[in-house]
Amino acid sequence: MESKELLKKLCEGIGVSAYEDSIFNHITEAFQNLTDEIQIDNLGNIVAKRNGQENTNKIKIMLAAHMDEIGLMVKDIDENGFVKVTSIGGIDPRTLLAQEIIIHGKQDVFGVIGAKPPHLSDQSERSKAFKMEDLTIDIGLTKEDAEKIIEIGDIITIKRDFIELKNNVVAGKALDDRAGIVTMYECAKELLKLKHEADVYFVSTVQEEVGVRGATTSTFKIDPDIGIAIDVGFGATPELPEEDVISMGKGAGITLGGNIHPTLRKHLIEIANEYNISFQHEITPGLTGTDGRAMIITKCGIPTLVISLPLRYMHTSVETIDMNDVKTCAQLLARFIASISSDNLEGLLCY
């Protein structure tokens, strides 16, 4: 399957944090023929393991990308049948107005997030943003009929088709971090062509957006020698300071900072240079907002790397990503994995 095709399936699928199960099949199908064993753990993490060759020392590399997405939840159905919501994960309420949504109740219910008509609001009002509690979902049903199919606690996603822009750039919801999963998929495909000693665990984690919970338990179980979180980083746009962002289409951001194992990172950069794979530096001095922050503190500590795919408009329903970055990032990861052996591992992990 083409990676773009998989990404479209994943992004148009539904997987709000803790409700990821409806995209499980897409992920297991994708990794089926590329890995030796697939398990789903108690929290719902999908662990696809690809065995290494002549791996007598049982070295383990874990890749993690999260499958959950931000979303909304039904908080109340009012007397007129309008629905009030709260957010799951970090959502700017300004990105919600005039969106089409689906409430995942007993059945999927279409609705729109309402705006007061401009004719009725004066100019000063229009310079103020709506707060989450001001937003109302219109599903066109009476309270009585609404309550037959939806209830408080049902999850809500924005209805957004995955679209292709120019230059192999794509846009949609939940590219954070389904693009990371597709990067792992591409990496697994690359590994078919390479010899690697380490067993590789491709982990699609749950509940990253609400506190990196899936990575916590999956890393514990796998107990890898090296953990690599693949997530998205802030793509450059005019309103963001240059030092805070990475550029679209210029390769993955290799994160630098306290969360990151310094000598492993150096090795990763050497691999990128050796194979002429483009990359960028991304600076995060403290803990990253990725699965990496759970990995590093698992058990007695796991040597961790974080790789970020440049992504614009993070946590909106029109996140964009350059598919070329997915491709080069996957190549880099595969070459890195193939370079790790029981002969060099200890040296690479040495401070």
């Binding site: 300004r94 919600l96 007061k116 120019k166």
Partner: protein, 340 residues
Amino acid sequence: MLLKRLTEANGVSGNEKEVRQLIIDEIKDYVDDIKVDKIGNVIAFKKGSIDSPRVMIAAHMDEVGLMVTKIESSGLIRFTPVGGIDQRILVSKTVSIGKDNIPGVIGAKPIHLQEPGERSKALTYKQLYIDIGAKSKEQAEEFVKIGDYIAFDSKYTEFGHNLVKAKALDDRVGCSVLIDLIKSDTKLSFYAVFTVMEEVGLVGAGPAAYHVEPEIGIILEGTTCSDVTDVEPHLHSTKLGNGPAISLMDRTTYFDKNLRELIVETAKENDIPYQFRKTIFGGNDSGRIHIAKEGAKTATISVPCRYIHSPISVMNKDDYTNTSKLLKLVIEKIETGGVL
């Protein structure tokens, strides 16, 4: 379905070509004369079988949207509104640019990098831009140029109890009701006029009325409806499902009392639900039509639309059916010598 085709066609004010062609194709076999005037209005004449006053029934073809103002060196596209759009509805949407419908997205600053307090302020036009995936100005210019029209990206969708979500219900719903009338049997002769550029200042209606010289003008609209939960009931301009909305007055017209009463009587006699449009905000093509040349008696009948001027406007299908029915009966009433 006609309303689906009409609302999914793009026709931002001044760029009504796609809608105009659709309408012409739809009605040309049902009218006796059809022409496009010098500014793009479609003026059709349907000849009846009786002596008729000069009746003009109008709906506007255009919709609100955006226009490209600048292409940045980064390849991102700046824009300005065409017609009245609340800037707050634009964030995190997909749009369609130019005649080749180049897809683009309007993004926003990630929540993670916002300063405290930033979220309480609406993002303004100056802060927003469209991303089509281009890496540079030169590359963007292969697909987009300054002045290109930009339309919302929104599909006709039925949902809830009898509701429809679409863009441009204001005023494709009026166009659709007028097309229904053209396709029905009427004894009265009338001019069916589909106007341009209503949303940017009632531009098309004046010259069209100058040409038609109506004695009676009926304007068909999709109008504001604010019957939502957080709006006080007395501020509900119209209510969805309560039937066609009949205008009393707005910023541009004091509608003719006798014509209005004729419409109300017709609704009552035929048990068609109706409501008055209970706001004076806004205006429509009547503003130009009723004062063209020697003037005309005008009335406006509207289908209420929630979230008007946004990609997700919502109407009730019963309101549509009742508006269409009422218009037909009003025409029959005028046939029997109703108003003049």
